[in-house]
């Protein structure tokens, strides 16, 4: 491969407990902190969310993740976004990552659309100056000119999504993560998003796309990764898993 590698996952394993923390006791925690633990051991209430995952994200490529629910797609995105860390193995991230945050997660309901552009934009790593400059573009792309000064609690989920998507694609980040985001919007806006993703790709941005829409993935993806049974395999095209 000639392209430069921006993110690399080397033999990554990630362990999660089945149960929430309620069954833990402080005594158990203290014991765990003190004694050196063997990461490879699986206790009876734990499972491997990822097993020996090897991945490379190359500059300017659009990588598509597909596979059944609960197979580890979101966990991989979390590792790329440095939100969580592998139990074993290494994750190397060389550029700024802009995750597209779930619909509404980065928004405050009482703030207006415009104010939320500032909040959400800075959260995904944009500078305030940069947001000011791009504000008109962001609003235009989101098609929300009329509603931009309205509190977002009055928005519909489609409107949330349009604004969120618009902010993410205007960020200067080299790596953009899209986690099942195109599923809510109308067809027209979807087409527009696909167009924008292609445009970003042409600009040399790296993208990770998670979706269940096979046609869409086949249209824009360069590389396809099937994530099934907690491990990742490179495949040639998106197919029925």
């Amino acid at each position: 491969m000639s392209s430069e590698c921006l993110v690399e996952l080397k033999d990554v394993w990630k362990k999660y407990p089945y149960k929430q923390m309620f069954h833990r006791s402080i005594r158990e925690d203290i014991v765990n902190v003190l004694k050196p633990k063997n990461n490879l051991d699986l206790k009876d209430n734990e499972f491997w969310a990822l097993k020996s995952v090897n991945l490379q994200l190359l500059r300017g490529k659009c990588v598509c993740f597909f596979g059944p629910n609960g197979a580890g797609k979101t966990t991989i995105l979390k590792l790329i976004a440095s939100v969580t860390y592998p139990t074993i193995g290494e994750v190397e991230v060389k550029e700024r990552v802009a995750p597209l945050i779930e619909v509404g997660a980065g928004f405050h309901p009482d703030l207006t659309g415009r104010e939320n552009v500032y909040v959400n934009g800075t959260i995904i790593g944009m500078h305030i100056k940069e947001i000011k400059e791009k504000m008109a573009d962001i609003i235009a792309f989101s098609e929300l000119e009329k509603f931009i000064d309205m509190p977002v609690k009055k928005y519909s989920s489609g409107m949330y999504l349009k604004l969120g998507f618009s902010i993410a694609v205007h960020s200067a980040s080299e790596i953009i993560l899209f986690d099942e985001i195109l599923s809510v919007s109308d067809e027209l806006f979807q087409k527009k998003c696909v167009g924008k993703i292609k445009e970003l790709k042409a600009q040399g941005k790296t993208m990770v796309l998670v979706s269940h829409n096979k046609a869409l993935l086949n249209e824009i993806g360069d590389q396809f990764v099937l994530i099934k049974n907690n491990t990742a395999t490179y495949v040639n095209t998106v197919y029925e898993y």
Partner: protein, 261 residues
């Protein structure tokens, strides 16, 4: 350790600014009197204490007006207690962000503390009026307020990040917050002074760093007295060590926040 925090945060200064701005905007949106709330709380508590101690209990706290006595004690106390109230649930309230995107997590509790700091500044303006009305003799010792406030600030940061981080693991912390703040209030000389307390009990009260801070803030502003140098240095050392360990603890558990929250 005190050096790592600014360098970690520097890169994220705009995010920090935006969080503080958002906290303010959201708080006073759809509110009638807005920022006046920052004055109303210390003012009403001061009025109540003045009434109770002057007419009900008939205890004279100091040689000067109880208005000054209580207000001077309430200002640092309210900064501390509202900082805890904002910061302790701050991480769990933003679980959607914590599980999706990386930024130094201490930004969330710190922006809560900053909001409390602005409230403190607003409440101080009223205090200046009181100082003028009651013709308080101001001396240069008033400048001690700045280092004392720094102590208070760092102590508040340490307690806040420690409890906010712990709250990610055990929600008991949030449940205990109200109770903890109430207990801490009575352990801090806000509505009393430790001047007439026997020496061994005094030492007990000084285990709470806020005792030193609140007592001395009142002394240097209203009574024009200086802070005893060695005492200040001692408290400074204790608080620095405390900040060091709390921040280290926070950094250690921060990596697992997204998995645990």
């Amino acid at each position: 350790m005190l050096i790592t925090m600014p360098s970690r945060l520097y890169k994220y200064k705009e995010l920090f600014f935006i969080f503080v701005w958002r906290e303010f905007t959201v708080r006073y949106r759809q509110s009638l009197i807005g920022a006046l709330w920052a004055i109303l709380q210390p003012l009403s508590m001061m009025a109540l204490f003045t009434f109770i101690f002057s007419y009900v209990m008939k205890v004279k706290m100091a040689s000067y007006s109880p208005v000054l006595f209580f207000y001077a004690g309430l200002m640092p106390w309210i900064f501390f207690s509202s900082s805890l109230n904002y910061s302790i649930p701050s991480l769990t309230n933003h679980y959607q962000l914590i599980t999706k995107i990386y930024f130094p997590r201490e930004i969330l509790p710190l922006s809560g503390i900053t909001v409390a700091f602005v409230d403190y500044l607003i409440a101080s303006t009223i205090f200046i009026f009181f100082l003028i009305i009651y013709k308080v003799h101001i001396t240069w010792n008033i400048l001690w307020v700045v280092p004392l406030f720094m102590l208070l600030f760092f102590f508040t940061v340490a307690v806040s990040i420690f409890l906010a981080g712990l709250n990610v693991y055990y929600r008991d912390v949030r449940l205990a917050t109200g109770f903890l703040i109430q207990l801490w209030f009575f352990a801090t000389p806000v509505m009393y002074t430790i001047d007439n307390v026997p020496i061994n009990m005094k030492l007990l009260l000084f285990l709470n760093p806020l005792t030193f801070i609140v007592e001395n803030m009142r002394r240097c502003i209203v009574e024009g007295r200086a802070v005893v140098g060695w005492q200040f240095v001692l408290v400074l050392i204790i608080i620095s060590v405390f900040v060091f360990f709390c921040y280290r603890f926070f950094i250690k558990i921060e990596r697992a926040f997204a998995d645990v929250i």
